[in-house]
Symmetry: C2
Subunit: 200 residues, 2 copies
Amino acid sequence: MSVSEERPYHHGRLREALLEAAESTLREHGQDQLSLRKLARDIGVSHAAPGRHFPDRQALLDALAVAGFERLDRELRKAVAAAPADDFPARLDAAVAAYLHFATQDAALLELMFSGKHRPGAEEVRAASEAGFGLMEGMIREGQESGHLEQGSSEQVGMVLFATMQGIATLVNGDMIGRSQMDALVERAVAQFLRGTRPA
Amino acid sequence: MSVSEERPYHHGRLREALLEAAESTLREHGQDQLSLRKLARDIGVSHAAPGRHFPDRQALLDALAVAGFERLDRELRKAVAAAPADDFPARLDAAVAAYLHFATQDAALLELMFSGKHRPGAEEVRAASEAGFGLMEGMIREGQESGHLEQGSSEQVGMVLFATMQGIATLVNGDMIGRSQMDALVERAVAQFLRGTRPA
DNA sequence: ACCTGAACACCGTTCAAGT
DNA sequence: ACCTGAACACCGTTCAAGT
């Protein structure tokens, strides 16, 4: 799948190329090091070319955040689907492990997704985030029906669970706890949500 | 306390002035809008003057993070000290409320404190953060002794509690939940930590 | 429809020189 | 000891003009 001999005037898939390059720059060097001019240079277009596809730098960052939420959603669904359908604790563990894997794999992306400093009309980002919350809420309802979780608003319980995992990821990403401590915290936190199905 | 007529060659307290100006710029306009050159302009020194006090931009951001941890520590201690000494749930509520007040008051500062993208030798930031964790752990031990909290590693329980609050703050700062929802989540989360002392 | 090249108004950082 | 002014190598963004 090699590119044509002399790069043509039109790139053809510049938008996708920008997103791919930006994603790996973000992961490897962080948001501060991500420059539209450098991306353009690496891809081989003029520095003004990105402007055709993203009105400004934040628009590209927003697009990365949206892509992040979509990938997170895919990974969560995949993990839960792979767990036994009749073992709620195992399903919860799978979801939690998948979330923490995602969240601690790419600290800069996680920050982009949740920091909330998006473009004024960033309804797309908010919308993309809701898919994941929906999945979480569905799982909570499942656990409530099987008697593994306390009753009450499944949305609230899901949010508290999510917040706990997000907070643990923040501690890891901020180098305040190590990965081994993370596992212990996650286990303790999940046990707190499950009622009487495990030793404290 | 007016400044002398014609600004003198030496500012006198430039380091402090930079930190003060940076703190309010951060709060009002965010990290991206914080520029050393603009701070220097506002204060009335040359654009190279900040370099004397902070080797680079990140050094100033690190100093802001350290100041943030110190203020957080003060506010937590003050809130806990004001709560009745013999009412653990009330003391826990006070600490939690104080933390969330701090964390949702200045989203940009919170991100600076916990994002962990500090200068390579940023031992100062890590050290400053430990004071708050120490206070949290002490409170947990208190609650375990009075029978309000589950037994086990007080450090771990404290970390999980802290992570939960941090996560809720992230949801608020990222505009994913509103302030009224926040209160409900906090109440539910705290109730989960307290054993049998409140209705679920 | 998509991209270029020049231009504008910014940055952070360095360093000789000034007080 | 502390600050200035010029210089360097970058940015993001805009816009006429090119293909």
